[in-house]
């Protein structure tokens, strides 16, 4: 199965399991491990000398796993953030968490460059600036200061920078 975590994509398949011996293919690499199930629905996975305690849970929008105290969120690659189009890392800027819009730093039609802050939101009393992941044009600003926003809400729509199609396709190819 193809999984996406943040911007990165991975591919993983469980090839076989024979007793405690588990074989998997991770991004093309063969990985063999031993696994012990535990009574509390977690498991111990040993890869070489390393020993990891695994726990997993499914949520409608993601697969969550814990490896010891570390946690990882995965979404099926095909259901992740929209594919980059015309050099856009994403065609929208969405709210990473519920909160309130403090400031909108751009307006429709602006041209912005990668890393430029677009919107400042406040959540848990901390200010967070949301920046463009790539050069882009502001297609539409969908929020105003003071708006309360839910997790995942679209704040700004982006479109490709018109006169850069050449290096867009390059980007697309990367």
């Amino acid at each position: 199965m193809k999984l996406k975590s943040g911007a990165r994509e991975y591919e993983v398949e469980i090839v076989s399991r024979d007793g405690r011996t588990l074989r998997a293919r991770v991004d093309g690499r063969e990985v063999s491990a031993t696994i012990e199930e535990l009574g509390d629905a977690s498991a111990i996975l040993s890869i070489g000398e390393r020993r990891f305690r695994l726990l997993g849970a499914r949520r409608k929008d993601a697969i969550l796993v814990a490896v010891g105290p570390r946690t990882f969120d995965f979404v099926p690659a095909e259901s992740g953030a929209r594919r980059a189009r015309g050099g856009l890392a994403a065609s929208e800027v969405t709210a990473p968490m519920p909160g309130k819009v403090l400031k909108v730093l751009v307006k429709d039609g602006d041209r912005v460059s990668a890393g430029q802050p677009l919107v400042v939101i406040e959540a848990m009393k901390m200010e967070t600036a949301l920046a463009a992941e790539s050069d882009a044009m502001i297609k539409r600003v969908r929020v105003a200061p003071g708006d309360n926003i839910d997790h995942g809400a679209v704040l700004v729509e982006l479109s490709p920078v018109p006169d850069s199609s050449a290096n867009q396709s390059e980007r697309g190819a990367r």
């Binding site: 010891g68 968490m97 959540a123």
Partner: protein, 507 residues
Amino acid sequence: MAVRKLKVLLVANRGEIALRIIRTARAMGLRTVAVYSEPDANSAHVAAADDARLIGPAEAAKSYLNIAAIIEAARETGADAIHPGYGFLSERPDFARAVDASGIIFVGPRAAAMAQLGDKVAARKLAIAAGVPVVPGIETAEPAAARAFAAREGYPILVKAAAGGGGRGMRVVEAEAGLDAALEAASREALAAFGDGRVFVEKYLARPRHIEVQFLGDEHGTVITMGERDCSIQRRHQKIVEESPAPGLGAATRDAMLAAATRLAQAVGYTNAGTAEFLLDRDQAGEKFYFLEVNARLQVEHPITEIRFGCDLVAEQIKIARGEKLAAPGVPRGHAIECRINAEDAAAGFRPATGSVLELRVPAGPGVRFDSYLTRGSEVGAFYDGLLGKLITHGADREQARARMLGALDEIAILGVTTTAGFLRDVIASEAFADADLSTRFIEEHCSGWPSEDRAMSEAALIAAALTAAGALGAGSGQRAISNSSGETTDRSPWRALRGFELWRRP
């Protein structure tokens, strides 16, 4: 011994601290009352209390900061005392006054002392008068004056809120270009957090340690100190790892800090528990410490002091509020460390995280204490501070406490909301921490670029994801185990779900 009756305690807070206060009050034979906002209706502190009252909707301003509603809840439930915990109303003199005015005991310092110490500008003056060294700074945030000060002292400078604490409304300004923006943002944050937008400016020390002194004062003029805590490891000016004693602190410096804390407390006739925070600077000349602020409340990290001194600071607060006389502090023993487990993504600049807790494994064992309100099913929203729990370990020496912390962090698993547990594990495991190379820049110096690439761990995570997708790991498999009472391992094995390697489908 007690000069006034204290039988029913209302806890004007939420989360781990509300639960922790209720546990102590219960052990003292008090009746306890919880207050809660709508999203906290199912929260652990509500369950633990003998009685509970809804005080408003999610927004703190309408619930946990709603003085009228809280005092009304106290009246309804016959509470004769209110403990504010930390944060929220804990350092608001108007709240302390309103509580007094309602004939209810406020478990904390008097409003006057609180006002004096809570205003950083006034507190600075107080420190100077008490002969406590302060960091060079100016008591205004008027841009021109700030620019002039910065020109004189050189960048970086620090913009701080006059009110409150906890790092909110704080900004480090590296160069003149950022000055105006920083003043504005700090003021706005301060206004939002403390209802007071005043900020001021001071010299930013390059690589200081944050060391603070716990003190207690009673109504009979007694002031005692209970050692120091090193809280240097911070992100965004907020502590995430604390320990006591402060490693390698010179005995003379420690004594001077304890004496300075005592003078500060005496200068305002301080009653109840408080903390004097200092910055420690080290150069050829040796250790120098500067007054930072006094937090006129119980500190988040108070448990490391409790464990070393074998005391219960909340119990002490309640006894003081009853008018009892303080006993001499016990002899401290061993070393204690606290890690704050926050709902944040350490890999994304500690961005706040939210979610509901789907799976939870908590640590235990000798020398391990975990103060948390989390349960399976807990909802972590964006409304409040993201502190989920405090993991505290104790040892005969620092190394044993550190090793136990490492082991305990490895036992933690929280699924459903991203936490700092994995990050903290790497902090505690780091050579820099093992060597106690502590400063407020610890995170940027030693943890930038976290997490480092770890192929085996990524592989483990992806395999775990595949197993979970196939229903072979986690709640699903757990439920199978639980709904089945035959106890035969074969029956309980979720692996059959793996036959055919069904792929995960979105509902």
